[in-house]
Symmetry: C2
Subunit: 133 residues, 2 copies
Amino acid sequence: MKIMKNGERASIKGPADWFTGTVWLNEIATKPDSPRVRCVCVTFEPGARTAWHTHPLGQVLHVLSGSGLVQAEGQPVRQIHPGDTVLIAPNERHWHGAGPENIMTHLALQEANAEGVQVIWMEKVTDAQYAAR
Amino acid sequence: MKIMKNGERASIKGPADWFTGTVWLNEIATKPDSPRVRCVCVTFEPGARTAWHTHPLGQVLHVLSGSGLVQAEGQPVRQIHPGDTVLIAPNERHWHGAGPENIMTHLALQEANAEGVQVIWMEKVTDAQYAAR
């Protein structure tokens, strides 16, 4: 058993290649301690969002605070709120982020596949795609 | 993509065979929607705790609120607080729960193995074991 006390790990700024706007990542379960199940608590400032991406084994999002948006390709942009859980299918192209005027924090849970891959990043979500509601 | 809105699923009382005291389970990721990664938000009333148990692929706990206790067999009982993350190794015998005078809520993340098993329940934690600090 290993205990990581609160504050031992610094929050990480979401890399600009994968996110639009300011995004903060608080890692909960990562390799090598958790080789397959991964969990990160992610805070998006208003307007911030992921790039389009897929997960080889799918993803679960669980909103903790604020108000956010999620879209699977070919489906409408949908609003998500605290307590809502989003289930993304394996290889389903999608993005998620804060609302235009609201910060949003969610847990992101995904499993790495046998090759250790948990996410495949793609192009940025344009302002037009983000605003298409 | 599937969205489960907050309130769609009822909280479940922790079964008396697996828990001592009053424990509430709020399921976040469960089968069949998430066949391998499982996540449950668990609230333990003061004095409440799991039975001894193991997870074939390990477990990650992340404390959200309150003050709790965790023990791996052969190690001392340790206190855990909000923001702390506990990494339980595969097949490591352990228990977790609230402090004697504090409620505690944590996320529990574990992966089911190829047979769909995510936890193996054992005997209850005695009052003497719980108080041994």
